[in-house]
Symmetry: C2
């Protein structure tokens, strides 16, 4: 196993210095190769599906596993999109000259070796490999056990294209030990791996964050709030809350808890109840909410819960302070929104809510690398350091200082 | 203990929103208060010194512990310097508008609660507190046990000034448990602490990096190289190597290993031997080096050793590739320099050596926040992520996205 990582590390030095043109060419060839080899991918995928059915995995899981021609085309197109991104490597992000004539440049460079640990969906394999490659990184991938056969074939195809271009195939590598103990081992290899990105369930992310010796950028849960302030345009408030809840309830930037100012609760709650219930949303309210509308009572547990489903908890709050306090206590620092026409309240909320994305008068659903204009998305980081919020390939780089002199020494 | 951190976390929310003007005023008052209370600091410092002598600590350690009027004035002046720095908080580092009218701002904000673990020198206490305060962070400090009394009085004085300004004194806090188990506990408190910065010996840094659940920015060793390329101006090469070794041998940006191209070894080595030995530097060479000059042989151990002393290991290499390979294998990613007049070699070295600071024709001794123009220095990070190389107060911030709309929802 250590030998595998040694090779990935060596390969990382090669991919780090490739020109954008070569990277774009290889990515496009990778896309073509995936489409050309669709048949063998589908065959391998069948093995995974058979195993999944035997193991009685849920239909939702099986659907996420499934690859067909259409989905393989989508994977290929995604690589083609990545090939069009602006190459972050080599960008001079700062530069100045010292009194003694030394020229300092702060330059973006690849991180090195990135370990990505993810679950079931095999399209993540080519996405992750493509994003790492375009940003000049080598990667070691550990997908879901259920997708082992599909992932192996996909990786094989990508490596074949690398080899054909006289590049080290280890630039894209699969972790050989696909078990839990493989992950346990990988996250201790700080000698070879520079960054670990876990994508998946809460348990996986908790385990990796707590045990990794390698720096981790995690893509943790989104317990997002929309707060309807007393000076809100209630029509906008209802529209935004509805969108944040139902437009796509299963994703991390969907709203889970609605906070309603007491001053407008009587007017707002009956309206939102009707709108939400019409969309099939189950509502759970705090004691005060229940004085206004007849819904299920919420428990303490509800404020902590990322439903990822058509369920919404509602709490009536006494003003801005109370709302911010609730978000501080129960939020996950992902995306939170205030609906208000009051400038001071908007500024307070923007400044004091400690989340990656803080909104005024807009749906939390906009937290997305694609929407933000980053092109293909690595994910949405819930880290506070290195990368926060939507991550593009820019966030798969670090920097170094290049200092050019002509004989300067320190006095 | 947990209660202490809860209070620091609460205090961090207050300091995060302070205007620069207030921060500057408080820092200047802190400086005045240190000078005014010099007597009680010196008294407390005596207790630490007595204990240190009883414990038979080395004279060097005792000297580092010692505080007198002059050193207290230096601490105060350092706070005054910090008060003059540009406030990073609130800086808009990027901003754009989406097609739908949403305005996105990427804004620098404080990190939150920063834990700083350091050894003996009590002046670090006021420096660290000042840097965290100016960048809008609360801090929890754990200094050396030997400096407990000095640190306690310094912190008390800083907290008194906070209180006098109606600010929560917990913005600057001392870890109550000053033992190893206190550190062990602190680095697990990711609920309250956002960043740990360990400064000190290799053992401390290794322990913290390997066991922390909180993100760590480490200030690890500097095993720096100077490589004299075949196309070097040898006079510059000798001057740069000498400066990198002897100008201040005990610091992390001093050179520890000199790499000499075989093609100029015969000419260069006798010259550098004479210069180094004149400065009292002990030389240790590889087998080939010994063919040219009569010095002690180097062992494998030498290439791994950060001497922090007037000792230098010398290796003859076969060209650029060999030099880069040596640095890759033995370097610590801190600062490395090539001396050459060959443009292609310079570019190869700059691009391929994976260190925080890579130099052409200059001494490694320039790696320093002050020299780089960052003002007061937090330290020199050997992390690859978040902050790399010299760290100024800018690196004690992270960012958030502020998104301002007028009712936008996602289609």
């Amino acid at each position: 196993m250590e030998e595998v990582l040694q090779k990935v590390k060596e390969a990382s030095r090669v991919v780090a210095t490739l020109n954008s043109g070569i990277k774009r060419k290889v990515l496009n060839e990778m896309a073509d190769a995936l489409e050309k080899n669709a048949k063998s991918i589908i065959e391998a995928n069948k093995k995974d599906l058979d195993y999944a059915k035997e193991a009685n995995l849920s239909n939702a899981l099986i659907d996420r596993l499934l690859l067909d021609e259409k989905r393989i085309k989508a994977m290929a197109d995604s690589l083609r999109d990545i090939a069009k991104l602006k190459d972050p490597v080599g960008k001079i992000i700062d530069g100045w000259k010292l009194d003694n004539g030394l020229e300092i440049q702060k330059v973006k460079i690849p991180i090195g070796v990135i370990g990505i640990i993810y679950e079931s969906r095999p399209n993540v394999t080519s996405d992750a490999a493509g994003l790492c490659f375009m940003s000049g990184n080598a990667c070691i991938l550990k997908g879901g056990k259920e997708a082992f056969h599909s992932n192996s074939v996909i990786i094989e195809i990508l490596r074949y294209v690398l080899e054909k271009n006289s590049l080290p195939e280890d630039i894209v590598s699969l972790l050989p030990d696909y078990s839990r103990s493989g992950v346990e081992w990988l996250i201790k290899q700080d000698k070879y791996v520079d960054l670990i990105i876990p994508r998946g369930g809460e348990k996986l992310i908790k385990f990796v964050s707590e045990n990794s010796k390698v720096p981790v950028v995690k893509h943790d849960k989104g317990l997002c709030h929309v707060y309807i302030h007393e000076n809100a345009n209630l029509k906008d408030g209802a529209k935004i809350a509805l969108n944040a809840k139902v437009q796509r309830p299963g994703v991390c930037n969907a709203m889970e808890t609605l906070l309603v100012d007491r001053k407008i609760a009587g007017e707002f709650l009956p309206v939102i109840k009707e709108m939400m219930e019409k969309e099939g949303v189950e509502l759970r309210g705090c004691e005060i909410t229940l004085e206004y509308i007849d819904i299920k009572p919420a428990t303490e547990e509800d404020w902590h819960t990322e439903y990822l489903d058509k369920i919404l908890s509602i709490r009536v709050v006494d003003g801005l302070e109370d709302a911010i306090e609730h978000i501080e206590k129960y939020g996950s620092g992902h995306s939170d929104s205030i609906v208000t026409d009051n400038l001071k309240a908007a500024e307070e909320f923007l400044n004091r809510v400690d989340s990656a994305c803080v909104y005024v008068n807009a749906s939390t659903r906009f937290t997305d690398g694609g929407v933000f204009g980053f092109g293909a998305e690595v994910g949405i980081s819930t880290n506070k350091l290195h990368a926060r919020g939507p991550m593009g390939i820019d966030d798969l780089t670090t920097y170094k200082y290049k200092i050019i002199g002509n004989g300067q020494v320190r006095e």
